[in-house]
Symmetry: C4
Subunit: 261 residues, 4 copies
């Protein structure tokens, strides 16, 4: 039997993408991403996720101001990259949707954005310990995780103005992840499955890295070469991404059997 | 589309309160608060929560001596601020209801009290490490968290006399939270949703603060200005509180689908 | 309204016991204790619990060699204090039932024994850090927690001979808890509700004590006077014990709604 | 009553094995092992488990490229020891099945292999702290846990060539467990119940060992004599293995009541 899996080529966008072709598919996928992130404990009541509209690169889809765990298709708003709600509705959007628009504007090659506050990243956001890849599933972190600390005075550490959105996008630059000091993190990815994978394994990498850090031991991190190869061949390969997304969807269906789409 | 969310004013009690208008609503809300605190693992068999009677500022509602997880509407007692049970019943009240009455008497601007023992606060209660805000959702802690250690000799570290209740209220003073050495914490808030949010994020802030503390690193805490703004604009804003309460209620309904009100 | 709860007298065995009057009640209670300990994560597949036969002080009830989580009334064996199975059955008993018999023989005032390996006690069993009461719910530990390390050579660290059972009972002495080096702990109590409470809060006290220990801070422990009063008035008082047992039973019923008695 | 349990002889393969006699039984057992490892949180979307074919020592059974949590009988492939899929199918195998074949080829006395990445082993894989037995249920680790760090350059730290498979098997040698630097671990055992037990208690031993390590205390480990006896008489004895496997199966059935075989 031919074994294509051991000959996996480097990631090529055309064959490897999980970014949908239609708006309807994107809406369905962002509903699932919301529930997955709630179900896996990555987001609680707060934090949010978005996906670019495949039919209009200048808008994105995101839940109204509701906990991700509860989101259904009826809760998804279309929003432009400046944060204006396009959907005709009285539903309230997230105040920090500005982050999503600003990053999607600055990163045309990317299609999905995460903003959240899970505990594992917090120690790194308030100390001088940089997050680095400990294992192959942390490989996507190899280009570094800078810390944003240029908040609007009096703004409550929330990102809600276009000006601060632009600063956030500029600070993220070409990274996949940055931290917001005393607040949380933003993540960007090619598509929602890779975004959710990034959030889950950022948590796992940060958790174990801090456990090692408190011991005083200096771990052997992945080298940049190891990490890039691990990301391209393994972690972000279509096989692994399909397996992870399938797993998270199966878990959501098991824990929320009654929830409508 | 107009975006009111990015123009959120400072918290104004008249528009922002989640304190109910009627006794019946308050009873329903305190039942939910009990179940939420059990479901989120903030309270186990021990600990309790109360809400002032909106129709009589001199009484409050609280479950009988039962685990919060199990409380139903039929288990709620009306108790006066000295700890006397007003409800005509043979049901047994919590011995430490005295804490709730004493604090509600001393803080007329507040309407909800929590007393519990969750593990995250214990290290801070027996060492000299003060709890401070690490993130925006710990912002409500910015005025400090003092430690009570003036127990009645021979009283088993329980607060069950009017005299000690008065000492507890005096020690809490104008703070939102204080710790009881080797015992747990008391929390006071404007309403039950803000009280539950305070308990959940006190846990999260204390957990991550201790994880940082054991590393020997000195974190960058929120400044008092940052914290006050974060609390007023973000964490305690109506939008965030609605989202959090909705989330916790949705989780209770999912885990206890059969439980009567 | 009269408030008997604030006048709670010191624990008096005759009014405060939760040790049943009949063998049938004791069997039902030990089934519940098995399920509770499994459901609360105190025991996994290994470890066991027993209760003295109220109708014959020289025998006790214990599940056959099965995980506590799965035990039903049909799985309970009657065993004498030397470890002989009295029940006419081919069902296999636990090898370490010898621990239970030996302790019940040496402690006629006690009626329930626990043996388990939960992770929280292990660090204390292999280092020189004594477990001490950090909070009021750890108060029952105030007389100290010695470490047994006198294993039968070649016995695999299991306690399965009468001689070693006697050494175990002698080492426990008048303590409520001792540790077995590199193995786990034994606990003895007046009745199964107090035994389960001791296991749960030994876990919680040990967990938080170790978290403090790794920080290098010296906590303020409960004094012996504080601890004895906290145990007698609060933690082991009938009100608290009823509330805890009711809570654990309610949780078992919720997570195993279909399980027969 | 005769008590055979206290006279348990040293493990003898002929009476003590849990390796099935037929291919159909082995397939059913590997489905259960997959679900157990998912249900116990030992494997998430990634990682895999295999069992030798009892009817052909040169092939093994393993799920197709799917999360272990989701595996059913229809997902099990037969694969030869060089990694060629024998089953007539278009289903995709795991890329790292090469690990399983290589180890089963090198260890004819063993019949089951695990490869996974659970967090507890990671700190030991990137520092110089060797895993050692802390308790009797970590006894199977007494011969040491070496760290593999001889990855194919540019291979993304995945083991997918026959050459690297051979290096992995050689590095594992006669050990039961080795770590892969910055990646995870491989485990080998006589049968699937002993393999699952090894994975679960490797996690528990590593977790508590790291908690002790960060304190700076030097624990008293099991001596080699203690550990070998504890493994042979206790942990890997038929009684304990039956009890553990029964427990994990009961938990799977409880959490996945609807899942077909």
């Amino acid at each position: 039997m031919t074994d294509s899996s051991s000959q996996a080529p480097r990631m090529a966008a055309e064959q490897n993408t999980h970014f949908p072709k239609t708006a309807q598919e994107a809406i369905g996928q962002v509903v699932l991403a919301n529930r997955i992130l709630g179900n896996e404990g990555i987001l609680d009541a707060l934090g949010h996720v978005s996906v670019r509209n495949p039919e209009n690169a200048n808008t994105f889809f995101q839940a109204r101001s509701i906990s991700p765990f509860e989101a259904t298709r009826d809760d998804i708003l279309e929003i432009d990259l400046d944060g204006n709600v396009v959907t005709q509705t009285t539903m309230r959007p997230y105040g920090e949707r500005i982050i999503h628009g600003a990053i999607l504007k600055a990163r045309p090659e990317m299609n999905a954005v995460f903003h959240g506050h899970f505990a594992a990243v917090i120690p790194f956001s308030v100390t001088n310990t940089p997050i680095r890849p400990i294992t192959h599933v942390g490989s996507f972190l190899y280009q570094g995780v800078p810390i944003y600390d240029d908040y609007e005075p009096g703004g409550g550490m929330l990102i809600r103005t276009k000006e601060e959105g632009a600063r956030i996008a500029k600070h993220l630059g070409q990274h996949r992840v940055h931290l917001l000091r005393g607040h949380g993190c933003d993540i960007v990815a090619e598509d929602l499955p890779r975004l959710v994978a990034s959030a889950v394994y950022l948590r796992d990498n940060a958790t174990v890295q801090w456990q090692i850090f408190v011991s005083g031991e200096e771990p052997k991190y992945l080298s940049a070469e190891e990490a890039r190869a691990a990301m391209e061949i393994g972690f972000f390969g279509a096989g692994a991404i399909d397996r992870m997304w399938g797993y998270w969807v199966a878990r959501v269906k098991r824990s929320m059997p009654d929830m409508k789409d």
